[in-house]
């Protein structure tokens, strides 16, 4: 039974993630997408809002329920299915990251970014506040994120999604090779 706690290979997890696209159509004709929830959450706030945030967000409750499921899945994955072995990072990546100053490689989520203490540092502010802002802005501008474009859009052979995914990688490469070395 230790397959449950070990990390799952891409050729198991990938196809299952992809099958979520037809599954959501089967469950209720819904398009897979997660970043739309950021819009729904903004739209659910009271007070005056820009036009883009004025719509009947309650019709999108299913998407917020899906996000609630993601939270639940994170809890289950972290508590019942957690991998007891040390996290493994590719040796070449470790060497490159060590060169820019990363020292801890022992957890799936690096404490050198994801801890409350980091919020008091320039690095933590840039990554958590700046990164979050860019993800929220960019996802809505592009009309989707890694799930809506990267999985559902590519699966549906949408040209716009392919362009968006290319954009994701251009941005990610700039962040990795130009920005991260300067803020670490």
């Amino acid at each position: 039974m230790d397959w449950i706690t070990r990390p799952w290979p891409w050729w198991i997890a990938g196809p299952l993630l992809g099958l979520m696209v037809p599954l959501l159509l089967w469950l209720g004709n819904r398009p897979l997408g997660i970043s739309g929830n950021l819009r729904h959450l903004c739209a659910a706030l009271p007070g005056s809002k820009p036009d883009f945030l004025r719509y009947e967000w309650r019709t999108q409750i299913w998407n917020l329920l899906f996000a609630a499921g993601l939270v639940l899945g994170g809890w289950i994955g972290g508590h019942w299915l957690a991998d007891p072995d040390p996290f493994v990072v590719a040796a070449t990546t470790r060497a490159d990251l060590a060169a820019i100053g990363v020292t801890r490689f022992d957890a799936m989520v690096p404490v050198e970014i994801f801890s409350w203490d980091m919020l008091g540092t320039a690095r933590g502010l840039v990554i958590l506040i700046g990164g979050g802002f860019l993800v929220g802005f960019g996802a809505r501008y592009a009309g989707g994120c890694t799930s809506g474009h990267g999985v559902a859009g590519l699966a549906d052979l949408q040209i716009g999604s392919l362009v968006a995914v290319v954009g994701f990688f251009i941005g990610g490469l700039i962040a990795t090779f130009l920005l991260l070395p300067r803020i670490w």
Binding site: W10, G18, D51, G143, F168, L179
Partner: protein, 133 residues
Amino acid sequence: MRYVLAGAAFGILLTKSEAISWFRMQEMFRFQSFHMYGLLFSAAGAGALGLRFVKGRKNPRGETMTLAPKKIGTGIRYLAGGIIFGLGWGLSGVCPGPVFTLIGRGVGVAAVFLLSALAGTWAYAVLRPRLPH
């Protein structure tokens, strides 16, 4: 409720495939591991096969299963928005699915990322009339 279960399955898959890990994203952006590429492309491939099978048929609720095509326009929104998204994704290793999964995992500070993403969404809503699409 069925959407909560579907989301939970998605969150478990994101966790067990380690797609919530900043390190996995760094391996990917540095082209030092095939894992994330295999994950993304096998997901898109399986999704495409599944869509071939279900599109145009009726689901148990009697709805004809379909995905709305995305409007292309000039296409600039996909490239510009994609790059802006990618900058944040590359820095943080987090995208909108994993942020919820990380919060469930107990990484509380991910909530700060989520709040900031909401601020980014709001900023887009304000600037939207002036942005090329």
